[in-house]
Symmetry: C2
Amino acid sequence: MQDLNAVMFQAAQAFKKYRNFSGKQKAIFLRAIAEEIEVIGRELIDIAMQETNLPEGRLIGERGRTIFQLKMFADLLDEGSWVEARIDSANLSRQPIPKVDIRKMLVPMGTVAVFGASNFPFAYSTAGGDTASALAAGCPVVVKGHPAHARTSAMVAEAIFRAAERTGMPQGVFAHLDGGEGFEIGNALVMHPETEGVGFTGSFGGGKALYDLANKRVDPIPVFSEMGSVNPVILMPEKLKQEAENVAMICANSITLGVGQFCTNPGLIFGIENQDLERFLRVLSAEIEKISPSTMLNEGIFKNYEDKKTIALSQEGVKTESVSKIEKTAQTQGMPTIASVSADIFLKNPKLHQEVFGPYSLVIKCKDEAQLLEALSHLEGQLTATLMATENELQANEELVDTLKNLSGRLNFNNVPTGVEVCFAMQHGGPFPACTDARFTSVGPDSIKRWVRPASYQSFPDTLLPDELKHNNPLNIWRMVDNAFVK
Amino acid sequence: MQDLNAVMFQAAQAFKKYRNFSGKQKAIFLRAIAEEIEVIGRELIDIAMQETNLPEGRLIGERGRTIFQLKMFADLLDEGSWVEARIDSANLSRQPIPKVDIRKMLVPMGTVAVFGASNFPFAYSTAGGDTASALAAGCPVVVKGHPAHARTSAMVAEAIFRAAERTGMPQGVFAHLDGGEGFEIGNALVMHPETEGVGFTGSFGGGKALYDLANKRVDPIPVFSEMGSVNPVILMPEKLKQEAENVAMICANSITLGVGQFCTNPGLIFGIENQDLERFLRVLSAEIEKISPSTMLNEGIFKNYEDKKTIALSQEGVKTESVSKIEKTAQTQGMPTIASVSADIFLKNPKLHQEVFGPYSLVIKCKDEAQLLEALSHLEGQLTATLMATENELQANEELVDTLKNLSGRLNFNNVPTGVEVCFAMQHGGPFPACTDARFTSVGPDSIKRWVRPASYQSFPDTLLPDELKHNNPLNIWRMVDNAFVK
């Protein structure tokens, strides 16, 4: 681990400088990373296609998203209000004791370790949301390259190195560890005394293991693991009566998008047993039969899909409703598959509550709304929950809506859960086991808050305060001054 | 644990209603708690005096602070902007895919367990900051009454019950467990599946034990333990040259305030060896000799003070500089004591870095500024750090100031660390071991953020959104709408 120690020492040295860089300086760095990634051009897409089996269009789109995220954080830094500056002025005549001047802002915590996701080689990987948010916060980043796209990761890392160098960033502000398939280097990174935070996107097994490992440290550090989710979809009767066909087609698309390899993939669909639900199932099945199997990210993920799906389908009372009728053209293609089960059985069998990562969904037939509510009360925390309902049904089912709200990070209405907008209002996270700290998001500008802590200055002379806290507000940012938001 | 299960079940039932109460409704509840505490009047102060040995004036002041905190959170709820509403409007013409409408706000997490502090029977206990912030957030609260002020705690709990009843709060929104001296009930509370967060104020041993215990849960929950701190004070040479006497008198007061029983008590004082530091030490010693010993909170805390102090004073190279010359009038009075040691020895002996909870401080004599920096680099995370310096010295010692900033939650300039203002700009927390999550404060309005998570609504009809997120902003709160702060 001599190498890791050297990397972490250099990151700690970089932090001493980088934490005091202005927002504008950090923004230049982030924009340079975006540029350097773009400059690689075609080669990056080609390598990523080879390593991940993802189609060209998807990868070009994901690269665009990655560049957008970097620029979004640069804009956030340029604007500057994200530091949540708070100023409470002195009041020397206050009784019984004078009030001192106190000012507070968010400051970076230290080196952040990033573990990227296999299903997003760009946007949730080496220069993805975790790295961009941590660098924006003022934290050095050490990325453990994902073995499933090692060359892609190394190429993006090189782009970050070039950007750091040409924008005058301190050496060590970014590092890339190529640890291969094993856990050794990743575990050592989580346990290293200089690591002050961990960002992970991936499976429940991986995310929870890193979280548990970090709990063995002497000093607690924040570990934000964004993990699996079954993203329940609830079909209300009146909605199905009106448009079962349309809802079924929307669901079929969402279930099979990206070969089902999204953490927001709808894995459980709840409906109330009646002829409209049967209509929905018929259309959904017909759609699924027409959708081509596609190659999954890698053999491990394909095998995991087959195993989990086989377990689910072999449970007592589970009926396979439909499987794609289009033949596979390669071994590791995932077959779109729909199954169904009664809520009676679902309620008794926790194996059916688990995520099957791939183009698979289980329809749960409830006897009535009471049983639907009961089934939902057995679910664990979710990234998303989706309600397919008329507005009247939404209004009339307060308890159901409230249950879904409390269960998930994002509640959709007549909309698919796949597709995560990168914006301020996005919550990508949710109650455990969707992630390890529901108080934060891993997507959007607010994801920067995972890597910062508030720091107060008491009775500091104005000239020696950071610009964010100076009396005349030289950065022209929004601040809370004596209990009022002002600019 | 049958009783605990019943309490937690009732809290969970209360949460289903309480989480949907408006800010104004919750504000009425918080103000009613403040009123009910005031109504108890003299009796509450008398009981608290008997249980804690704290003087009347201090307890009256602390009750005032507690009432102020409750009203502060009521004001926060009435104003309403604390929910961090973010709105990203739909853009149906966006290419390649339309942008959906997404809105986000902070929502409560669930039942919060509160463990109060022995040294603040009101402000950090039953109706203190943790309880007030959690109730303001919309979370039910279960308090484990502190055995050192069990009757005080029970009386305050009764006030909360009366307030809940007369303002129509759901039964179970607040509960008080009288678990006696043992850990059994507290541990069971932390491990209970319905517990969604823990607030603790007290010793490192207690706070870390609860944190470690919670890590054995199946589901991770946030544990905010605000623990010990030695609150380093750094004396710069020019400052001492100008006013060693004044600085010494300020320090003597801060060290002995409340018999040193504050988590912000200055336990380590660093200076550079020269005649001005000797002048400082002479005046500090003379002041300490004149300060009366006072009765400590309880026998356990007195014994702990004696034990820790004895260990510190018996370390090689530690010199006792001064002890109060005023005789004790009761057995459990803590004697104000000052010791000194060379930085050479301090650096080699971690026992000297530890908190001695009581009216004790250790002066560390450094050879030069380089050794001062080295000594500081050996310190762990702190609630506060204090710099006694001229403005020139502050400006000329960038590395030193930066080190202190990175070490602590609050950096004071020519000001004592004791005295924690309850205001927006206050950070009371800091890098471990000062607390278990430096990203939050336990004092001030922002402490509400410990108990909330963001929740997004995607494509929701306006009429069915919470008021905070409706198009026409009926609550007239500050919101981030399409990347701009507006009201």
